[in-house]
Amino acid sequence: MKKLIFTVLFLLSSPAWAQLSVFACEPEWASLTEELGGDDVSVFSATSGLQDPHYIQARPSLIAKARQTDLLVCTGAELEVGWLPLLQRKAGNPNIQIGAEGYFMAADYVRLLEKPVTVDRSQGHVHAAGNPHIQTSPVNIFKVAQALTERLKQRDPEHASNYEKRWQDFQQRWQTAMKQWQEKAAPLKGVPIVVQHKNWIYLTKWLGLNEVAVLEAKPAVPPTVKQLQSVVEKLKQTPAKMVILAAYQSPRATDWLVDKTGIKKVVLPFTVGGDKNSNNLFELYDDTINLLLDGAK
């Protein structure tokens, strides 16, 4: 009898039950949560590296996941404004409501750049809070990781020491990696580049790349031939080494420019899973820097 009770108790306390269920809006946060949470969390990523995180619909599978979530880890800064509020409303889950312990927005922990002076839709799809694509700089990742560790401890105090241990380990590895990236990327300083969409500001600032032109004059509005022509003119004055775009974006505008000017095209993973070499956050930056160095040759 005693044996039976113990068996039942053992089954009930199996780790699958104890895991903190995390809903990450983007793959970079899923990867970071896995680094910090290890076996203590089970992570679901709502989007993949090949999906534009803004144009997601509140589809049934996301509602089902949001219903059972203990902790939401998203970018915030209006990136998920089209679908996250719907999930919060439909899921009937108090854990993920605004301000709850289970509501973690990464953009709250870094200083956002490119906060528009005038917020007007004639300027394209601008984000009033600033540029939300913060995962393109490892400095931001570090800051978010620090805050996320605290949140994990708060949300799952039973395993607080595990999270602390993993944070210490991650911190060490991340700093070493950052040092290596910076050394390796030293030749990229001041290299002139063209970007297709304004989603690289944190990367260009970190590596000291020199952004000389943007193909999308207005964010998320496909550029007109006239706008592209003006970029060609600009490049005649100040030539650039390469044009960069994210894996999930349509290469049409970039291909046009490559065709006209023969400039090098570099498709960067943008986030974890953006290409086959970017399977975690470390690989993401390894790969990004390798691709940029190739482009700068």
């Binding site: 997601i56 049934p60 400095v139």
Partner: protein, 457 residues
């Protein structure tokens, strides 16, 4: 004198040979040791240099992390009453319509077209202008109201389309909503008309609801804790919106529904729903089969009393390469509805007939977005009905008779989307709702101002 002596001395010193006086084993050894020492010292120096370099870079990284600006502290603004403004959005739309037949002649054989179910007026027409205000109310409630302004029979009408409160994260997948809302019957019914893929409602929506079925009541939904979405719910209302009718002291209509859906791989997703609505209309009037009821102008219209049941089946499938909806995507939607009236039809004081009627139909639409700014789609509507009355004359009075047993319509549209917030649409219908076939052309713009709209599935 003195300087000359010094010069000579210096010169001798410079010229004197510096070679060792003698060579020997000890000297060799000394030299070797000195060389070794110099070697090691150089190596140690190099190591020290590398160490300090490494320390410097680590410090640099740490500094960078430390000096990276903190997220700005929330601005402690002065007391102000507008910081909690709700999200406000306005949808404007207008159209230019051309029909072969007269818009006023429009009817659907076997159905009674009521409310907004008819065609929009020909020529330039301002559609519905919708104002939506929404916000979290407090820790427990969310609220949303949608007011629509539109012209109806030369008068401008203000209509409360939706006005409800809803619980916010009640827990265990439960959500309660109260107020006026679109009944959770079918897929399109819960969406506002500007979010539809065509400028007009499917024929079955026109025929059964006069475009859309709204409820004043309470809705309860429960989301099961499963990996596939599975939601069940119920709604009770006052039963006064068509095809319901009349005052009910208690529950006038009720509805139960179940919805399920999920993903197939990373590129496809689907949702299926079933719902059943029931009401007992009290003097539901028939308006002689015309799209617009003329109220007082008609002496008296035939009325229905009895029970009405509607069953809906809906199926949605969506696909996008890599699941990335931004560039390209495909949407397939199909719904089927079946209405059963069981009761009687009265006309005036002397005409009466027992009545058993069935009205059914559905539509299938396919939309393909081939790049971020262009979409196109086709839709096919099909209807049918069976009416049995103890006195056929009353069917004629109710406008339920018609020459065509299976009204149908084929539509095609193409849309240009300058941004997420605007849309220009051209649509063509080949409408066979009644005996005269009609070709209809609709040019329409729809824009959204203010708060970002929701990406509803």
């Amino acid at each position: 004198m003195k300087s000359k002596k010094l010069l000579v001395l210096l010169m001798t010193a410079a010229l004197s040979p510096v070679s060792p006086a003698f060579a020997g084993d000890i000297d060799d050894l000394k030299q070797e040791i000195a060389k070794m020492r110099a070697d090691y010292e150089q190596r140690i120096q190099q190591l020290e240099q590398r160490l300090s370099d490494a320390e410097a870079t680590t410090q640099a990284v740490a500094d960078e992390v430390a000096t990276a600006p903190e997220a700005p502290a929330p601005v402690a603004s002065a007391n102000s009453s507008n910081t909690f403004n709700p999200a406000i959005s306005m949808v404007l739309n207008g159209s230019f319509n051309q029909y072969q037949n007269h818009a006023d002649d429009y009817t659907i054989d076997g159905f009674n077209v009521q409310g907004e179910g008819g065609l929009d007026s020909e020529g330039f027409s301002l559609g519905e202008s919708e104002l939506t205000v929404s916000s979290n109310i407090d820790q427990l409630f969310y609220g949303q109201a949608t007011l629509a302004v539109h012209d109806h029979d030369d008068e401008t009408e203000l209509e409360v389309e939706e006005a409800f409160i809803e619980t916010l994260g009640l827990g265990n997948g439960l959500t309660v909503r109260a107020g006026r809302y679109y009944a959770p019957i079918g897929y399109l019914n819960e969406r506002h008309s500007h979010a539809w893929n065509f400028a007009d409602a499917p024929l079955i929506y026109r025929g059964l609801f006069g475009n859309q079925l709204s409820t004043d009541g309470v809705k309860l939904s429960y989301l099961l804790p499963t990996d596939y979405m599975f939601e069940v719910g119920t709604s009770v209302g006052n039963g006064d919106s068509y095809p319901g009718s009349g005052d009910h002291s208690g529950i006038g209509d009720w509805l139960v529904y179940a919805k399920t859906g999920g993903d197939i791989g990373i590129e496809s997703s689907w949702q299926a729903g079933i719902s059943h609505w029931r009401s007992s209309p009290d003097d539901r009037s028939y308006n002689g089969g015309h799209g617009h009821s003329h109220g007082d102008e008609e002496e008296s219209s035939a009325v229905f009393n009895g029970d009405t049941d509607i069953t809906n089946l809906s199926l949605v499938y969506k696909w996008a390469p890599n699941g990335n909806f931004r560039q390209e995507n495909l949407t397939l939607i199909s719904e089927f509805m079946y209405l059963h009236d069981d009761g009687n039809i009265r006309h005036g004081t002397d005409e009466f007939a027992n009545y058993d009627g069935k009205q059914y139909g559905g539509y299938l639409e396919g939309i393909y977005q081939f790049n971020p700014q262009w979409r196109s789609g086709v839709r096919y509507d099909w209807l049918g009905s069976k009416h049995h009355a103890s006195d056929d004359e009353l069917l004629a009075d109710a406008g339920l008779e018609g020459g065509r047993s299976h009204p149908q319509r084929t539509s095609a549209m193409v849309e240009y989307l300058p941004s997420e917030f605007s849309r220009i649409r051209a649509q063509i219908n080949h409408d066979q709702s009644y005996s005269d076939d009609d070709w209809q052309m609709i040019l329409q713009y729809t824009v959204s101002l203010g708060a970002h709209g929701a990406h509803q599935y």
